[in-house]
C-alpha cells in the first residue's frame, strides 16, 4: 500500500493558463481555416482529498479540459503540475508512472470497456501492464477491487454485456482504482445511468473518497449531482472558467450572471419548492466557439451586458475565501 510514499502535496493538481486549440478544417481539401479554443486560459487547483466539480453546458470545454489535464490530449500551451511534477507535454512513455496515480472514468460504461475481455482481465490489466504481475498474482488484487466497488468477485469471468449500466460503471471505477491513484477525473460518470442507479454510484464515489482520501475532478452537466458530491465548483462557458469557489457560495450566492441563470434553470424535484423558485430564462443559444463574442463571451445572452462587456474581457478575480468570478457587473454578494 501507500504508507512508504511521501505525503502528497496539498495542491495535488495545479493548472496554469491551460489552452487547448483545435484546428477548424473546411472544404474538400480539409484545409485548416482557423482555430477553435475549446479550453481558454484555464487556471485551477485541485486540493488533496477534495472534489472539484466542473459544470457547464455542452460545448463549454469541460470534457476537453479533463482530457488535457491528464494529458490524454496535449495542451496547446500552459502548465499542468500533478503531485509537484510538470506533466503537460510529457511523452506517453514518461506519462506511464503518472497514469497510475491519475486516472479517468468515462461517461459511457458501454463504450469504455472492451467487449472481448472478461471483467477480470479488464480490472486486472493495470496490474499486468504497470506492475508486471502475472495473472495468478493479480487474482487476489482483482477480487479485492471487485469487492471494493460492490461487485461479486465470482463474476470476474463474465463479459461486459452481462452487466447492467450501473455495474459496468462500477467496473470502470474498479479499473481506475487498481493502481492506487491519488486522483480520478470523472467525466459525467453517472449521466448515462437511470436515477435509481446513479445514487448508488454517487454514494460509492463519496465512500471511496473518504476511505482513500482520493481527489476528484468531477465533470458533469447535472448541477444537482455536483452540489451533492463536490466541495468546490468551477463553472465553464464557451471554454472559459467564469466562476469558481466553495460549493456553498457558488450555489447560494453565485456572482456571475451565467451561474445564476444556470442554477435557476434546473428544476427541483419538489412541487412546493419548485413553485416558489424564480427562473431566469436566457435568450438564444450558446454562440459558436469558432467565433466567440468579443470581450465577455457570455455577453450575447446576458441581461446585464453593457458596452464594456463587448470591449474588455473580464478577468477572474477572487476574494480570500477562494471565490472568484469573471464579470464586469457581478450579482450582489
Amino acid at each position: 500500500m501507500s504508507w512508504d510514499r511521501p505525503p502528497p502535496p496539498q495542491d495535488l493538481l495545479v493548472a496554469t493558463d491551460v489552452v487547448k486549440e483545435f484546428d477548424v478544417r473546411a472544404g474538400v481539401l480539409q484545409r485548416v481555416t482557423g482555430h477553435v479554443q475549446a479550453v481558454s486560459n484555464i487556471n485551477l487547483t485541485v486540493h488533496s482529498g477534495e472534489t472539484l466539480g466542473i459544470v457547464g453546458e455542452s460545448g463549454c470545454g469541460k470534457s476537453t479540459l479533463g482530457r488535457v489535464l491528464m494529458n490524454l490530449l496535449p495542451a496547446t500551451s500552459g502548465s499542468v503540475r500533478f503531485e509537484g511534477r510538470e506533466i503537460a507535454g510529457l511523452r506517453e512513455r514518461d506519462m506511464r508512472p503518472i497514469r497510475a496515480r491519475l486516472q479517468i472514468v468515462f461517461q459511457d460504461p458501454y463504450a469504455s470497456l472492451n467487449p472481448r475481455m472478461c471483467i477480470g482481465e479488464i480490472v486486472g490489466e493495470p496490474f499486468l501492464v504497470h506492475r508486471g504481475m502475472n495473472a495468478a498474482a493479480a487474482r487476489p488484487e482483482i477480487a479485492r477491487l471487485m469487492e471494493t466497488v460492490g461487485l461479486s468477485p465470482e463474476h470476474t469471468s463474465r463479459y461486459p454485456h452481462e452487466f447492467s449500466g450501473g455495474q459496468r460503471q462500477r467496473i470502470g471505477i474498479a479499473r481506475a482504482l487498481a493502481l492506487d491513484p491519488s486522483m480520478l477525473i470523472l467525466d459525467e460518470p453517472v449521466s448515462a445511468l437511470d436515477v435509481s442507479i446513479q445514487a448508488g454510484i454517487v454514494n460509492l464515489l463519496m465512500e471511496l473518497q473518504r476511505e482513500r482520501s482520493l481527489s476528484y475532478l468531477f465533470i458533469a452537466h447535472d448541477l444537482s449531482v455536483v452540489r451533492h458530491i463536490a466541495h468546490r465548483v468551477g463553472v465553464m462557458y464557451l471554454g472559459k472558467l467564469v466562476e469558481i469557489g466553495p460549493k456553498e457560495q457558488i450555489f447560494s450566492a453565485p456572482r456571475h450572471p451565467y451561474t445564476r441563470a444556470l442554477l435557476s434553470a434546473v428544476p427541483v424535484p419538489d412541487p412546493t419548492r419548485e413553485r416558489a423558485r424564480r427562473r431566469i430564462v436566457l435568450v438564444g443559444d450558446v454562440p459558436s466557439p469558432i467565433d466567440p463574442p468579443s470581450g465577455c463571451r457570455f455577453r450575447t445572452r446576458c441581461w446585464k451586458a453593457t458596452e464594456v462587456c463587448a470591449t474588455h474581457e473580464p478577468v477572474l478575480v477572487g476574494d480570500e475565501s477562494g471565490h472568484a468570478f469573471a464579470c464586469h457587473h457581478p450579482e450582489p454578494a
Binding site: E57, D194, V195, S196, A199, R227
Partner: protein, 340 residues
Amino acid sequence: MSGDINKDVLLSIEDLAISFDTEDGEVRAVNGVSFEVRAGEVFAVVGESGSGKSVTAMSILGLLPAPPARIRGGRIMWGTENLLDATDHRMREVRGGEIAMIFQDPLTALNPVHTIGRQIGEMVRLHRGMSQQAAKQHAIEMLGLVGIPQPAQRVDMYPHEFSGGMRQRAMIAMAIACRPRLLIADEPTTALDVTVQAQVLEVLIGIKDEIDSAIMLITHDLGVVAGIADRVMVMYAGRPVETGTVDQVFDRSSHPYTIGLMDSVPAVDGEQGELRPIGGQPPSMLRLPAGCSFHPRCRFMHLASDCQSVVPSLDQVEPGHFAACHYSTEVSLTRTAERA
C-alpha cells in the same frame, strides 16, 4: 388546480397490455396500464428505462411496429372511439391533426432534405387542405409562436442550420400546426442543455394555454415533473405503481418505488439529504418477478409475503391518489415519519 376531476376526459387508456416477440421470448413491455388525460392538463408519466412509458405513448398513435409489437389487450379511448380499432385512414387523421407527438431527438423526427417551413406547412396542407402559400404563412406564424426569432427568414432554412434548441422548437411548431387537442411529448428536453430546457418548457406551457390542448409528458426527470405537471403516473416494469396530483405523489408518496426514486435524486437547492439508492437491478421484462414486480428491490418487503405472490392492484389511498402496493398505508406512514 387543473387536476380537477370534473374536467373532460380526452383520452382514456383501459387495461392496455403490449408485448414484443423477440428471439429470447415474449417481452411484456406494458402489463395492464389504465389512466386518463383530461382537457387542458399536463399529465406526466415517469419511469426509468424499460418501464414501458414510451411504448405506452407510441401505442396511442399506432406507431409501434407490428410485428414485433403485439397489443394483447385493452382499449385506447379517444372520445368515444377506440383507436385500436381505427382504420389506417382514420389514424392518419388523428396523428398530427388531433394528437401530435414531440420526440426527444428532433434530428430523427425532422426530414433533413426539406426546409423547416415545408415540414410544418405539410401538416396543414395534409390535414386542412391549405394552399402552399397559406401553409407557408401558417408555418411562419407557428415558428413565431414557439419563439424562434425572425421566423420569416428561418422558415426557408434546413434542420441542420438550426441549433439543438431551435430544432426542438421547430418540432413543437410542427406538432402544434393543426392545433391538436393532445400533445404527447416523449422526453422533449432530455437531449437539451438545462438553460435551453428552461426555454423549451416555457414554450411548451405557453403553447398549451394558447391552443388549449392537454400535454402528456413522458420523462425520467422528477424536477421537470414537479415544475410543470398537474398529475403524474409513476411506472415500473410495465405497470403504473402510483398516480395522483403532483402534490399527492411527491408529498405523500405511497409506493416504495416512488419513494425510492425521490430519495435517489439530489436537488440543486441543496434540500436533499443523503441519497438512498434503490437496491438491486430493474427486472428483466422476459422474466418478471411473481407478485409485485418491485418486491425484490423493495425496502419495505419485510412487511409481508403476499408481495411475492399477489400482484397488487392500483387502489385509492385518498381521492384522486392511487398506489399499487399491498401496504401503501404503512409505507406512507413510515415515509411521513422518516421525513419528519
